[in-house]
Amino acid sequence: MQLRYVFTELRSGLRRNLSMHLAVVLTLFVSLTLAGCGLLLQRQADKTAETLGNELQILVNLCVADDPSESPNCSAGEVTKPQLQEIERALNDSPEVDSFEFQTKEEGYEKAKEIYSPEVFEGSDPVITVDDWPAQYWVTLKDPKEADGVISAVSGLDGVSGIKDQREALSQIFGIMTALKYGSWVGAGFLLFAALLLVANTIRLAAMARRREIGIMRLVGASTLYIALPFLLEALVTAAIGVGLTAGALAAFMHWGIGGLEGTIQFLPWIDWTDYVESLIGLVPPGIALIGPALTLIPTLLLTRKYIKV
């Protein structure tokens, strides 16, 4: 296939419809940035829930050796198997409990590393060791407002050093994150729709401008792909620019936005650059680098079939 023609057409197509292409790029850029923020917030919420539990959960801290709580329940030292069985029975019996999971002290210690600064884990006599970290039951409630029964049932049991109930604080945090996330997605949705319409219009204009060429190409037997290729490449170029700008904006958000928050709010585990990369090129949920081209290529494929039907 001779691609010289295709690239000449691509260049002249981009130039001819410059204002339309700019409109597509800018709309894509803003909408993808909002969508990307939504994806990052989703990851932030997941990460927070993973480390601190969600607003439906309470954490049952179990005794460690030399428990700092000095609770009478910990007089026997580190929690024992029979004690665990007793606690699990109480949890199973409670009508307020939906489900619960056991988290070993090692797992808790690994999560703690994500929140606290590394110095506290280092050195010959670190501030926090594995043995300082309590094993926990992560208890998911049926109703976030109803926990009194299970708290009273469990808190007096041997082996329970205390109950960590962050439902109120977490529900505020999750409330903000959810609102921001859905806000971003709704905004992104509207703008992505606008982007779709713009792409459709651009193709219609381009097909009109090139209808004579297209007519001749059909007559002399050019394949549909060959006729559609300049349109598809135009769509791809605008998408690539849109995605590139979005990647930059999200990187700025990570650097200054999340970077700044990390300094001020330290008790939350913050998303990092791995999450950024996942939001860009992830498959499930689709990242920005997939959404962008899909948004321009799908309408282009559909419309070129309509306008340049062989």
Partner: protein, 229 residues
Amino acid sequence: MIRFEKVTKNYPGPGKPALDQVTVDIDKGEFVYLVGQSGSGKSTALRLVLRELRPTSGRVYVAGKEINRMAGWKVPRLRRQVGTVFQDFRLLPNKTVTENVAFALQVIGKSRREINKVVPETLEVVGLKDKATRMPDELSGGEQQRVAIARAFVNRPMILIADEPTGNLDPQTSVGIMNLLEEINQRGTTVVMATHDHGLVDQFRKRVVELDHGRVVRDEAAGSYGFQH
């Protein structure tokens, strides 16, 4: 080379069919005039050969293949074997004569070397070797039609379809175009030409197929334009 078998074509809406049970057989190397009044079905017949349309019933064969059942992706290959010329030339105004002719080869993926060889040869056949670098608006109507014929012929198609190729030209220029189509026909290409031009049909005697309200009313070897008109 082209065969219509009881071909009927209805367009949407009320009215008589554009083609009604048409059966015509055109052999390889023939030169056939398709004559008839406006609306008699000439253009419909030509568009069926190009698979721009599909018949409502009946079968159309081109080069031995039944093209109304042909898969969509094979249609471009069919059209590479059928050159087309129109009354309004349909040249690209921003390309030179050479570029216009070369365009037909570029878009079907021919190599640059082949294009550089075949395009000048074809321009020589149509007598425009000296005007290769001119733009279409610098050419007369007859010359523009020669460029269009060069473009249709450059890929050496088996069939050349001409829809009123002399409709916009004066009689003298039309004779020149006819001579050219005849020469192309003598090189082995089957030519089907829809026309209203009495003078040409009577002067260059060929097979005449006359359509009237979508029906073949006359099919005559070396016929005249006809006495009804």
